[in-house]
Amino acid sequence: MINNKFFGRRRPEPPRPIPPGQYLEDGFPVLSAGPTPRVDTATWEFSIEIEGETVGSWSWDALNALPQTDLHTDLHCVTKWSKLDTDWRGVTIDTLLNDAGAEAPAGFVMAHCDGGYTTNVPAADVIDGKGLLVHTYDGEPLAPEHGGPVRLLIPHLYLWKSAKWIRSLKFMDQDAPGFWERYGYHMYGDPWREQRYTGD
């Protein structure tokens, strides 16, 4: 369908290709589904569960004592904006699993967060450097409205999979829909195949 008189605002070409349907955004929009939870690092704890058992848990201090990873990456939000060249610091899920002496099982994982948010991801998509817990954005402590003190970051998927205010990752055999997935958002969410909603 062509809208004849539509020209649009042609932005300068992004320095590298961005996924279909996206536009370049300089800001960093906040589009959370509820108010920003208040999380105290003094009592914060993150855990990983496999087959219903906690295999590891980390306090804020413990998380910061682990080997840190710096990541320079692009973000793609399902609401169509992409933000390039963002800088993060945190701990890979691989590092956490290693610290716990555990291996990621095959299957899927559900992220659970303060405020009740959840999102599901295949296990293969959080390991091998693809998933991190991040606490620092652009050299500063991650702001609460952006998911601070700690959020999940899985930059190869739409940003709703990078769960803010994360508290645990629970591995599961079968895939199950998280918060937005239950409202019709895609179970996987690959921005390059434009998997925004169910059936895409």
Binding site: M1, F6, G8, L31, G34, P35, T36, T79
Partner: protein, 239 residues
């Protein structure tokens, strides 16, 4: 596109007749539709717009589109779209920020500017389902002409003893303005809650919609009152 009307200096209301399968699908008050424009050379842009009309009229949807300075999609709608034009759409989208008539306990609505859009769908649905659920809308806008749907909201509040309306302007008021004249602060939130459910009580649910900063601030006030995280539903018209 079946009708286009001016609602305020920068906002027009667009009514779109839906294809049969979308009309049959229906929607919930609070949901939105994605609209997509394609230029003759293939360039595309898409945006989400909240439905302002009630789900009781499922054959068409009304959208409020504000003209954003150098907005490529809003300027197209304001300048070029005509009745009879076809627009590509997808939806309905969303589900957390929705109101259903089965909600019978007190609800607080807080809207800023064009954030009134999804709340209109909720209030219209509430009216047409003859809901007696206590409700209060606190609506903040810059100037009086920016108070979208003002006449309809005032009429709704006058006709319904269970619906209260608080209007506040943040930029300029005329000498005969009867409402409030400042940004919504904690005191106003407390006042609204008190009016809705009395002292020492909290609403069952709150819906907050507007710009990101507005929603962040109001969301924090509501959490400070003791409301549960899950009872505060937010829709941010970012950034």
């Amino acid at each position: 596109m079946s009708s286009i009307t001016d609602e305020s200096p920068r906002v027009k209301l667009f009514t779109l007749d839906l294809p049969d399968d979308r009309a049959k699908a229906g929607f919930f008050a609070g949901q939105s539709y994605d609209l997509r424009l394609t230029a003759p050379d293939g360039y595309q842009a898409q945006r989400s717009y909240s439905i302002t009309s009630s789900p009781d009229s499922p054959n068409a949807i009304e959208l409020a589109i504000e003209l954003i300075s150098d907005g490529e999609v809003s300027s197209y709608f304001h300048e070029f779209v005509k009745v009879g034009d076809k627009i590509e759409l997808r939806g309905p989208i969303g589900g957390h920020f929705t109101w259903l008539p089965m909600i019978t306990r007190p609800v607080l609505f807080i809207a800023g500017g064009s954030g009134i859009a999804p709340v209109m769908s909720m209030l219209r649905h509430r009216a047409s389902s003859n809901s007696t659920a206590p409700a209060l809308l606190m609506f903040s806008a810059r100037n009086e002409p920016d108070v979208l749907f003002k006449d309809e909201l005032e009429r709704m509040a006058n006709d319904d003893q269970n619906l209260d309306l608080i209007l506040t302007l943040t930029r300029g008021v005329s000498s005969d303005w009867q409402g409030e004249s400042r940004r919504i602060d904690r005191a106003m939130v407390d006042q609204a809650i008190s009016m809705l459910v009395g002292e020492n009580n909290l609403p069952n649910r709150a819906y907050v919609c507007g710009g990101s900063g507005f929603v962040e601030s109001i969301g924090n006030h509501l959490l400070d009152t003791g409301m549960n995280h899950n009872d505060v539903r937010t829709e941010r018209f970012g950034p």
